[in-house]
Symmetry: C2
Subunit: 271 residues, 2 copies
């Protein structure tokens, strides 16, 4: 298996040749059911099952699998194929650790008589074990404005309590407050808070895989996207100095993705 390479083929086949216990993160946005030539809802789980099996095999025991997916509407109802999918994965041994909510603030315009525009998707976080790699400090966000007044007051209190330590520069209290420039995010992701990047127009925006890659991997780790599409995950991994392996069945997409990787300078061409 080659690193920093995009394989052309069906991931159900290609994955079989990959070594086990290898990837720190598998992150993907598979074809949704009934969309863009994706599987039909009633066959979706069966279609995904062998792929999930291989993903489980190739993922490191302390690794994570992030699955971006969304229910579709069938006959006026949200379909439950995502619930069924989660059930299948849990039956296979995956732990459904968390469901992140990706709030799409620029959702597609439209109007229907029985629903509003759909402005969120899920990013399901699965692992093989209760303990796994998670680098929470890597995704801290700037603290809100509300804290400025409070921070002012707290530093004053700190000074009153122990003036001598402030001057020394190494007081425990002081170092605690310095850390308060940033806080941990929540499980609701929206570009405004999670990233300073202006790039946010595509179906799978660059900042989204970047966020999960920073959260679940470190530099030098290897990341897999079995449905690479136009290569967003690969670009994100390259930006973050992670190794990537992508698989894509559509030859046109493979070439687009390879081109993006070749041309990418920092963030250029992303989206």
């Amino acid at each position: 298996m080659r690193h920093n390479y995009i394989y052309h083929g069906d991931c159900a086949d290609v994955l079989k040749k990959f070594p086990e216990d290898h990837f720190a993160l598998a992150i993907t946005s598979p074809p949704y059911a009934n969309k863009r030539g994706g599987p039909k809802v009633n066959t979706y789980v069966d279609w995904f099952q062998p792929i999930a099996k291989e993903l489980y095999r190739v993922l490191r025991d302390d690794g994570s699998f992030v699955l971006n997916i969304k229910e579709c509407v069938v006959k006026g109802e949200r379909h439950t194929y995502v619930h069924d999918l989660i059930g299948m994965l849990r039956g296979m041994g995956w732990l459904w650790v968390e469901e992140y909510c990706w709030h799409k603030r620029n959702s597609f315009p439209g109007k229907w008589p029985n629903r509003f525009r759909d402005a969120f998707e899920r990013c399901h976080h699965f692992t093989k074990n209760k303990h796994f790699c998670m680098y929470q400090d890597e995704v801290r966000v700037p603290i809100g404005d509300w804290s400025k007044s409070r921070l002012k007051h707290l530093s004053a209190t700190d000074r009153q309590r122990d003036p001598s330590k402030v001057g020394s520069g190494f007081g425990k209290n002081v170092s605690n407050w310095v850390d308060r420039d940033t806080v941990f995010p929540t499980n609701v992701l929206h570009m405004a808070t999670e990233c300073g990047n202006k790039q946010h127009s595509s179906a799978f925006p660059l900042w989204l895989p970047e966020w999960f890659m920073r959260l679940f991997t470190k530099e030098g780790d290897t990341i897999l996207d079995p449905f690479l599409g136009s290569g967003t995950s690969a670009v994100a991994a390259k930006c973050l100095k992670r190794k990537f392996v992508g698989i894509e069945v559509n030859k046109q997409h493979v070439e687009t993705a390879r081109e993006r990787i070749r041309n990418d300078k920092g963030r250029k061409g992303a989206g």
Copy 2:
């Protein structure tokens, strides 16, 4: 059955005495599994089943049922009891029309090694039929500054698709004015855009049931909350000139709710 009244008792029993095909909306936030003395996750669906049966019976054929609920964590994993609940309801004949995402800006603080703070809940929208009452114009929101710039970038086809059916009966000028300054919301609810009400510190904030009541009922309709709690739904219904019927098993809560209804002048005492 009395209108604008709060019944004390177990809703599974109380509902049996209510007439069928009566309520325009049932909206509730039942006790979550493993929380606040609520049922355990493994008994939750069986516990809810007979209640759901009665709700189906008493709801009008063109009515809606809005269920606010959230998964809890069990042994490091999100539990799937909400999925099972949706499956049970669908098996009973309910249509799972939509899942609204309530983005909670004041989520509970905390830090854990495997997850971040939970900042969203779901509001599941069920109906008995594909066609149901939905008054979308009642929840239009003022257009935000962000969208003004975005409007510039809308394609010609997007603009042409505008239905411009709003304000029939009024002059065309009115309809244009409405179209330009307000917009339909998405299925992601957050107090900032959906409501100007400052009251939103409680577990089930007033603006949330208000929003669904405006969306799914009109003045004079009758609304049911089988788990009324401290009476937020009843206050909301009263504010909006809808009739309400509440059921609450905890005598203390019943008295709190009755007191709130008596004292309520507009929005006072909500929360």
